[in-house]
C-alpha cells in the first residue's frame, strides 16, 4: 500500500475537474482523479492505498463525483485534519470511509505503511510504530454506514419506498 499526502484545502475541482463531470461513470471518474493536483495519481494508485490531507479536505462543489472518484480508484480511506462538510456527508452517504485525525496526518508520510481499524478508529503507522485515535462517528452516522449507505438505511427503516 502507498500513501498519497496532500496539503490543506484539497478542493473538489482538483479531485475531479468539472470538465470530466459530463461522464459520471466510475471508471471514467477514476481515470481523472486528482489530475489537477497530482498528474501521476490515477496511473499509480492501487487498491488499498490511502489518501492523507490537511484541513478542509474536499472543499468546494457538492459533486458526489469527488468521493466516488477516489473510491473508484480503490483507495481504502481518506485521513484528513478536517473535511469540508458536503464531502464528509457524501462520503458517509456512499459508504466510503473517511477519518478525521490531525495527529495522524502530521505523523504519516509518503512511504510509511499504515493500518486502519474502522470500527475503533485506530490508525497505526506501522513504519514508526505510532498509534493514533480518529474521532469516532456519531451513532446516527454509524447506522447509515452499517446499512451500506443512506438509501439502504432509509429503506431498512421503511421511510423510502
Amino acid at each position: 500500500m502507498k500513501i498519497y499526502k496532500y496539503g490543506d484545502n484539497v478542493d473538489t475541482d482538483v479531485i475531479i475537474p468539472a470538465r470530466y463531470l459530463n461522464n459520471p461513470d466510475e471508471k471514467s471518474l477514476a481515470s481523472h482523479c486528482m489530475e489537477d493536483i497530482d498528474a501521476d495519481f490515477a496511473s499509480t494508485v492501487e487498491s488499498g492505498d490511502i489518501v492523507v490531507g490537511g484541513n478542509n479536505f474536499g472543499c468546494g462543489s457538492s459533486r458526489e463525483h469527488a468521493p466516488l472518484a477516489i473510491k473508484a480508484c480503490g483507495v481504502k480511506c481518506v485521513i484528513a485534519k478536517s473535511f469540508a462538510r458536503i464531502f464528509y456527508r457524501n462520503a458517509i452517504n456512499i459508504g466510503f470511509p473517511i477519518l478525521e485525525c490531525p495527529e495522524a496526518v502530521d505523523g504519516i508520510n509518503p512511504g510509511d505503511a499504515v493500518g486502519v481499524d474502522f470500527q475503533s478508529g485506530v490508525i497505526v503507522n506501522e513504519t514508526t510504530g505510532v498509534k493514533f485515535q480518529a474521532a469516532p462517528f456519531p451513532e446516527f452516522v454509524n447506522r447509515i454506514i452499517d446499512n451500506g449507505g443512506l438509501l439502504r438505511s432509509l429503506k431498512a427503516r421503511g421511510v423510502a419506498k
Partner: protein, 419 residues
C-alpha cells in the same frame, strides 16, 4: 440558552421545541433541488435502491443549467436522463432550456424558496436562499435521491458565527465585496460546519441581490448556510412570487455564537480574491494594475439584475479594451428580458462584450469562456481554484460586477472610481 435563526428553523422542521448545536436531527424538506450534473447521479442512486416514487412532485426542482444549452454529447445524455425522470414523476418544477436560469437565481425568482423553509440542493451554492430567511444548504446526489424519495434529510445542527453589519455601502461597493471581505477574514474553512448569521442595522440598506450574493458564497467560508433576517425588502421581494404561508424566525437575544464579527459597510473597499483561494483577498487598491485577458460577469453569485445594472453603468459609452474578452451572462430568462428592456444588453454589445443565454458555463470551466494556458481572468463567479476555468496554469481573480466591468475597459484590475 436561546437559539439562532438557523437553529429555530431546524427545530421547526424536525418537530422539536428546541435543538442545540451538534445535535443530529432529521428535518422535513420544503424543497429538494438538483441540476444537470448532480441529478443524473441522484437518479442512478434512486433507481439502484429500487425506489419507485417521489415524496411530493411539487417540492422537487430540477434545473438544467450547468452544461446547457448542451456543450457535448455526454452532457446532452445527462440532460436527457433528467428530462425522462422529470416526465416519469411529473415533476412540477422542471426547467429546461427556454425556461431555465441559473438555479440559485431561478429558485427565488420563481417563488420556490420562502422564509423559514428548509431546502437542500445537490449544488454547493444552494446556501443562497438564506437571503430570504430560509435554511438552505448544499448536499450531494445521494442526499438528493433520499430527499426526493422521503422528503427528509439528516442535519447536524450548526453552531453559528454572528456577523453584525453596520453602516451603508459606498459607491461601487456591493454584496460581493462584503462576502469576499468576510471570507478573507475567516479563511476558507473559518466557518466550517457553522451557520453565518447576518444581523445589524446595516442589513436594511442591502438590496436583495446583495444579500443573495452574500449568502451564495457562505460555502466559500466553509459554512453550512448563511442567513439574513426577514425585513421589508424581503417581504417586497416575496410579494407576487410566494403565495403560500411562511414564517420568519429571529434569533433569541441569548442565542449562542462561537464567534462575533462586525463589518462596517461604510468603510468597505471594493475587494477581489487572487488565485487560488476565495480567501486570498486584497482591496482593489492593492490589486490594481494586474493585466487580465478575460472578464466574466454572471453566475449564481452575480448574474442578477442589480449586478448587470452596475456593470452596464460602467460599460455604457465605453469600450472593452483590445485584447480582452468580456462575457456577460444574465442568470435567468427574466433577468435577460429585464436587461434588454432597460437597454443594458445594448450597452454591453456596443461596448464590445458578448451576452449569452443563462448558463453556469465558464464558472466551472464547462463552456462559454474556457481559458487557455497562463491566461488571467477577472470574474464575478465564486471560485478561483486551480484549473477551475481552464488549464492548471490559468488564473482567476474574483471580483464584483463593477470591478470586473471597469477592468474590462482598461485590461487591468481597476477601481471603477478611477475611470
Amino acid at each position: 440558552m436561546g437559539m439562532t435563526m438557523t437553529q429555530k428553523i431546524l427545530a421547526r422542521s424536525a418537530g422539536l421545541d428546541r435543538v442545540e448545536a451538534g445535535q443530529l436531527v432529521e428535518g422535513k424538506l420544503d424543497l429538494v433541488l438538483g441540476n444537470d450534473i448532480t441529478t443524473p447521479v441522484a437518479i442512478t442512486e434512486f433507481q439502484k435502491a429500487g425506489l419507485s416514487s417521489v415524496f411530493d412532485r411539487d417540492k422537487i426542482a430540477i434545473v438544467l443549467d450547468h452544461s446547457t444549452p448542451c456543450k457535448d454529447i455526454k452532457s446532452a445524455q445527462l440532460c436527457a436522463a433528467c428530462r425522462e425522470f422529470a416526465k416519469e414523476h411529473a415533476i412540477t418544477h422542471f426547467y429546461d432550456v427556454g425556461q431555465m436560469g441559473i438555479e440559485h437565481a431561478l429558485v427565488p425568482e420563481k417563488g420556490l424558496a420562502a422564509p423559514g423553509e428548509v431546502i437542500i440542493g445537490a449544488d454547493s451554492h444552494t446556501c443562497t436562499y438564506g437571503a430570504l430567511g430560509a435554511f438552505s444548504t448544499g448536499v450531494g446526489s445521494t442526499d438528493m435521491a433520499a430527499g426526493m424519495a422521503t422528503g427528509l434529510a439528516w442535519f447536524k445542527v450548526p453552531s453559528a458565527i454572528k456577523v453584525t453589519l453596520t453602516g451603508k455601502l459606498g459607491q461601487y461597493v456591493s454584496g460581493k465585496d462584503v462576502i469576499l471581505h468576510l471570507i478573507g477574514m475567516t479563511g476558507v474553512d473559518g466557518a466550517l460546519y457553522q451557520s453565518l448569521e447576518f444581523v445589524g442595522e446595516g442589513v436594511a440598506s442591502l438590496e436583495m441581490d446583495d444579500r443573495f450574493a452574500i449568502c451564495n458564497m457562505a460555502i466559500e467560508a466553509g459554512a453550512k448556510n448563511g442567513i439574513f433576517p426577514v425585513d421589508d425588502k424581503t417581504i417586497a421581494y416575496l410579494k407576487g412570487r410566494v403565495n403560500r404561508e411562511w414564517q420568519a424566525f429571529q434569533a433569541d437575544p441569548d442565542a449562542e455564537y462561537t464567534q462575533e464579527v462586525t463589518i462596517d459597510l461604510s468603510a468597505l473597499r471594493p475587494t477581489v480574491a487572487f488565485p487560488h483561494l476565495p480567501s486570498n483577498t486584497k482591496s482593489v487598491d492593492e490589486a490594481a494594475g494586474k493585466p487580465i485577458q478575460q472578464v466574466v460577469i454572471g453566475s449564481c453569485t452575480n448574474g442578477r439584475l442589480k449586478d448587470l445594472r452596475e456593470a452596464a453603468a460602467i460599460l455604457k459609452g465605453r469600450k472593452v479594451a483590445v485584447g480582452v474578452r468580456c462575457i456577460v451572462i444574465p442568470a435567468t430568462q427574466q433577468i435577460y428580458l429585464d436587461a434588454m428592456e432597460e437597454g443594458l444588453v445594448a450597452d454591453f454589445i456596443h461596448a464590445g462584450a458578448v451576452v449569452s443565454t443563462p448558463t453556469c458555463g465558464p464558472c466551472l470551466g464547462g463552456h462559454m469562456g474556457v481559458l487557455s494556458d497562463d491566461e488571467w481572468a477577472i470574474s464575478t463567479t465564486n471560485r478561483n481554484f486551480v484549473g477551475r476555468m481552464g488549464p492548471t496554469s490559468s488564473m482567476i481573480i474574483l471580483a464584483s460586477p463593477a470591478v470586473a466591468a471597469a477592468s474590462a475597459v482598461t485590461g487591468v484590475v481597476t477601481d471603477p472610481a478611477t475611470l
